[in-house]
Symmetry: C2
Subunit: 298 residues, 2 copies
């Protein structure tokens, strides 16, 4: 790194539900931010707030030291980096690509190797905390990559998040995110099975949740998503469609590494069933809605 | 209830790993306690401490107002209550049976109905917290049955536990315990899948656990059992054999009620695989040991 954090010029590509407020925080923190997004509305809103319009991924790269990506899935990241007018049409040695999307850890390692050939460093830095965390700059950020590159980008992460941890080398952030999504999905299903069982057996599931919170079954999911299930409140939150995608990443990574993930596979199938019922845009706690329906409770 | 709590005479049947310290606490609290157990060693130890030897379930009942059961499984409870020299050979109207075993909620409702014909009240009051909770009198106690009967027995529960909740009518304690065991088992599997995936993908699973504890994936299981998995410490704790039995209760109850429990079923199969490998006496966190073996990690 030859550029000090204070003078870092930031590129930001991908201004969706998450990327737009994240880029906004960087603008508000005083960074020179150049943005790009496929649809124009978000670009115009950021430019009105003080950002510059890069016009294309390559256009962003020409005026940035660090290029942040916040895109939906692995193919989108590959397209933005290596496609026509993509990032690598304009990269210079010494630049840093920070991919904050949630994508495949295996693909991440391949992408980093390709960027390294151009002299470009990379961090994978997926987040958790959702729309709320992005809006409030309280995201958890799980980072993979070299320590020196992490240190250089740390001030940027601090503008967007709170719990910022370097997990290991390149890909480790995505592995950690996949692990997070595995634990969250399966724990939601655990709570859904328990509360549905209580309900169908004629026992007050609110009392069951309360009793279980006092013992080994305690979890943040039992607390928050358990309450959502009791309230029948399945407005997102975090959407079934996105969690389904994230479990595909975990299962594909597990498949490549030879790790069977039987409970993950079951929950991915159940998310698929929710999508088939037209419930893909509900909160992931809708696993309880599916189980209630299967049990004849609605 | 015509007997005040202070003068309650207590019978205690089933002096295993859990029952023996629980009965000991009642003796130490000054109750007149009469005990019975199939094997003699535990009886003699309790008698040396001040308890009386009932000689049989019926013998216990003749000198007790409240009869506590702490037995391995549903058939054991049915045998002690209704078999030869069983509890019901000697019951008097006004007595109370408190079943603290973990058994089927459906069977519990049947048993309570049979006891009611004799004028005997019943509570189901299964516990969580394991050997440690029994030894330290910090058990969580989940109770089903009439409020007045619960109130009468509350002083006894206070001697053995800390988190004492009446969940609902008869059977509700067992339903709550089944729900607890479902959530705990599936959450252990969730953590096992995540940490094994990280491990096999070459990422420090200790750092993953630490990062996940800061977000939505947080649970007491991730904290305690996750640490066990990192340490490779599978000494019980709570044994695979017992958790396998408890999931059978949940699945049978779910089956009877028409509630499919797909993740519970998967974990019950994996507990079965551990039993088949001769690992039934390990701690239930050994689900991670099985997954490591399946992944070629040991």
């Amino acid at each position: 790194m030859t550029v000090s954090a204070a003078r870092m010029r930031v590129g930001f590509i991908g201004l969706g539900i998450m990327g737009r407020p994240m880029a906004g925080h960087l603008v508000n923190a005083g960074y020179a931010v150049t943005v790009h997004n496929r649809s124009r509305a978000a670009v115009e809103a950021l430019v009105a707030g003080g950002a510059s319009d890069g016009g294309s991924p390559a256009g962003v790269v020409r005026v940035a030291d660090v290029i942040i990506l916040m895109l939906p899935d692995t193919p989108d990241v590959e397209q933005v980096l290596f496609g026509p007018q993509g990032v690598t049409e304009a990269t210079r040695p010494g630049q840093i690509v920070v991919d904050m999307s949630t994508i495949s850890p295996v693909a991440t390692r391949d992408i980093a190797a390709r960027l390294a050939e151009e002299g470009v460093a990379m961090l994978d830095a997926p987040v958790s905390g959702g729309q709320k965390g992005a809006a409030e700059a309280t995201l958890s950020i799980m980072v993979g990559g070299e320590q020196a590159v992490f240190d250089a980008c740390f001030p940027l992460f601090q503008v967007m998040g709170k719990n910022i941890v370097r997990i290991g080398e390149i890909g480790a952030g995505q592995v950690c995110k996949a692990c997070n999504q595995v634990v969250v999905a399966i724990t939601i299903q655990a709570v859904a099975e328990a509360l549905t069982l209580a309900n169908k057996l004629g026992v007050d599931s609110a009392k069951v949740r309360q009793a279980l919170l006092g013992g080994f079954a305690q979890s943040r999911i039992l607390d928050l998503h358990g309450q959502r299930m009791l309230d029948g409140n399945f407005q997102p939150g975090f959407r079934v469609n996105l969690h389904h995608k994230d479990l595909n990443i975990a299962l594909t990574s597990g498949g490549a590494a030879g790790v069977p993930l039987p409970a993950t596979a079951i929950v991915q199938q159940l998310f698929g069933a929710l999508r088939g019922r037209g419930d893909g845009d509900l909160d992931h706690s809708a696993l309880a809605k599916l189980l209630s329906a299967l049990s004849g409770l609605d």
